[in-house]
Symmetry: C2
Subunit: 437 residues, 2 copies
């Protein structure tokens, strides 16, 4: 038996849960969007579960899509992360920030500050921001992919160089010799790219892990090149074991092509579990978040299966003839799972309650269902760990920690305590200081 | 007797004190630059003293000028402010951020988030950033003043409009009606300036004080126009009562010219006190921070007085003939005070120990000296309050709170408790939401 353990990172956004309607749940305080006490409580619950990190998504535009949805994001990831880091001691954090709508000096400064004050527990998910509404908030239009990624390479390179510009031995701090810091060891970087430039230095000493870890999300060829060069962790969007293995292999190859050890990049597969004592209870729990938008979803399910479904069909299972005619739509990778669940004979409503239109695989049922899913994917080499999106943070994190984590530990799949103190320790990746090439 | 009370704001930077060499003091932990526990302790001490706000300066370049100086800044003001706000309940905060090297959408988001999570205790000191080293960190050169301020007007206007874009009644948060927020009341701002633009909206509800307060520092005609239009608080650089009255009158006139009530802008005069039981002890306390750079300072003192002084002159008072020949250099507004102290017969070293080359007036001696200075300036209408720069935070804040604050309170000059919960309450300025014109 391989003694390699899986890693677990948890998505944290608006204060309610990964389901856009989770703010409506009975046990949820509707004011949590602006209440960081709630975020702190969730971070502490995740730390109790020994998760390796929390991950804060970010988009630079309104994320509330209908009046009944909540925004998906925390108000400002850097601020939320600062507060959560202060009120935890071990768990790591990765926050998303745009390479397109931030200057490298500002990014370098904010993330290194967070890394220093948290004792080396911070990562940066570098995204290029491709949605027009975000660009419009900066009076801009979305540039083509080549341009966005060319800038992203420059930005990450400059940020890492700035991180290294205060050399590791520069902070003398000697009262007798009256030397605070040796300015000859705090050097400009003088980097000038096509899109961005910075002279430096950045006036921040090393953190306990040197500098923040780079994260990436997504898997386009452009994104893979950035990942291969800079990232230590990648979040994939993947719905089958085969696809996840393929994505993971791509990421590892990208690392090799950039001259790095592929084990230095950890690949994460998403999961959105709903856990309850029985399958029926789990479906009903998940169902409450599906209901507000169910009329649109039933039509979309029809598209996934090549059938014309409407709200009138909600309370019946698919007929034999429909199941025979149904075909998984190759344009949506979730269609295969939808068809498989339809064949189990559930009503159309219950098919939707399985979370099949959610953006990650959704194990639904008692804790074993989620643990089994994770074990199967992990042992198949589909991922190095999981990116967990709890349906409702308020009780969903504790349920996972109390019920799934012990199963994973009993099966020898998940660690029983943190191996070290920094995010690099948690991920098992090397210390790095400054630009790596 | 007028029952108007003075306001007190305190500068907080690197974790040591306002003196660049204060990190060397015996009672100071040299690691405080990166230790936010220290900043929190200082914020709590200032809150115990019922100060209206803490003020975080900011520059976007290396601020350590010699090996024996510490940086003057906190690593990242927004992060430091987030942490201090979480761990206090009443005191307000104002952080400096550049209108030139930040995008309005990012500024609006970070400051409104801070305002919401702190319960309405945040201000933004909007500066245009005129130093070349900062510009170089963004691959830029310093633009002329017209351009910088034209951009600043656009940035502040867009920021305030974004702050108002989530209307005050938009957050319905009604589980029964399944409405999180009414998107028809979260509206784009569609502002397009010459330098910056943003569509909006910003997805953040009102804070307890509506939105952050605008601060300004400095008094050039350009800066006055920005102040008059947007600010509720101004920090001056002023060395005499007459000059301070003039600056305050300028600020009030600028408000009137912008069609605002001049009482809506509070003018703050700086002070850098050193407090000890006796004058001699206070001079020696201050002197330890003057000593590391004293050879340069003695020469500069010569320039202030029109005399050729060197380090050889340190341990003697000025001779009769020198005093007769000395003239206060009109190019430096501190020269008058330097000459007056020289005439009191102090040695050149002790003249320098009076802090006469510091960037704000420096009352030196027992607590009464500082209290008398504040009373005199306040009663002369030189200011609405003071911007306090303690020499060493570690004990300097507590000393001020325990010794100066009670004197001011006994004299009826300073409040004995907070009047409300928000920064606007503390400053006595009106609620504002959105752009004011
Ligand atoms: C799990 C996951 C999380 C993501 N989170 C974010 C995010 O928070 N913010 C963002 O702008 N993009 C996010 N993305 C989008 C990707 O970073 C990337 O921009 C997207 O896949 C488009 O790729 P492209 O720019 O190469 O076309 C995420 C993608 C995945 C798979
Ligand atoms: C008390 C005081 C504090 C200031 N703090 C800052 C600061 O933290 N950051 C900054 O860039 N400028 C700061 N300034 C500078 C002014 O905002 C302004 O840029 C400077 O006076 C030059 O003015 P001008 O741009 O109109 O020429 C400060 C000025 C004063 C008087």
């Amino acid at each position: 038996m391989n003694d390699k353990k899986m890693l677990i990172g948890m998505q944290i956004g608006n204060g309610y849960g990964a389901q856009a309607t989770s703010w409506m749940a009975d046990n949820v305080d509707v004011r949590n969007y602006t209440n960081l006490d709630a975020h702190v409580r969730y971070a502490q619950a995740a730390e109790r579960g020994k998760f390796q990190f929390l991950f804060l998504p970010d988009f630079l535009a309104q994320s509330q899509k209908t009046d009944h949805d909540a925004p998906l994001l925390t108000m400002d990831p850097a601020i939320t992360m600062a507060v959560m880091a202060r009120e935890t001691t071990k768990i790591g954090f990765a926050a998303t920030a745009s390479t397109t709508f931030n200057e490298p000096y500002n990014l370098a400064r904010t993330f290194k500050t967070l890394d220093v004050i948290s004792g080396g527990r911070i990562g940066w998910n570098a995204v290029t921001t491709s949605d027009p509404a975000s660009a419009a908030n900066f009076g801009a239009q979305v540039a083509d992919r080549d341009t966005r990624y060319e800038r992203a390479h420059e930005v990450v390179q400059i940020v890492q160089a700035l991180w290294g510009s205060w050399q590791e031995d520069a902070w003398v701090a000697d009262k007798d010799r009256k030397i605070f810091a040796d300015r000859s060891r705090i050097r400009p970087v003088n980097l000038q790219g096509r899109h961005v430039a910075s002279r430096g230095p950045l006036e921040i000493p090393p953190s306990r892990q040197g500098q923040p870890v780079i994260f990436q999300a997504g898997g386009s060829p452009h994104s893979l090149a950035l990942t291969g060069r800079f990232a230590n962790a990648v979040i994939g969007a993947t719905f089958t074991i085969e696809d996840s293995r393929r994505q993971r292999a791509n990421v590892r190859r990208a690392a090799e092509q950039a001259g790095r050890n592929p084990d230095e990049i950890k690949f994460f597969a998403g999961i959105m579990p709903t856990i309850a004592p029985t399958k029926r209870e789990a479906l009903d729990r998940r169902g409450q978040f599906v209901e507000p938008g169910i009329r649109q979803r039933v039509r979309y399910l029809g598209t996934m299966l090549g059938l014309g479904l409407t709200a009138d069909d909600l309370d019946r299972p698919l007929a034999e003839a429909e199941l025979a005619a149904a075909q998984a739509n190759p344009a949506d990778p979730r269609s295969g799972t939808a068809l498989q669940i339809a064949r189990e004979g559930w009503s159309v409503r219950d098919i939707l309650y399985h979370g099949i239109i959610d953006y990650h695989p959704s194990p639904i049922g008692p804790a074993e269902v989620t643990a089994d899913h994770m074990q199967e994917w992990f042992e198949a080499g589909a991922c190095d760990g999981f990116w967990l999106s709890p349906d409702v943070y308020e009780d969903g994190i504790d349920t996972f920690v109390d019920q799934v984590v012990p199963l994973l530990q009993q099966r020898g799949l998940f660690h029983t305590d943190y191996e070290g103190d920094t995010l690099r320790d948690h991920l098992g990746v090397d210390y790095q200081y400054g630009a790596n090439h």
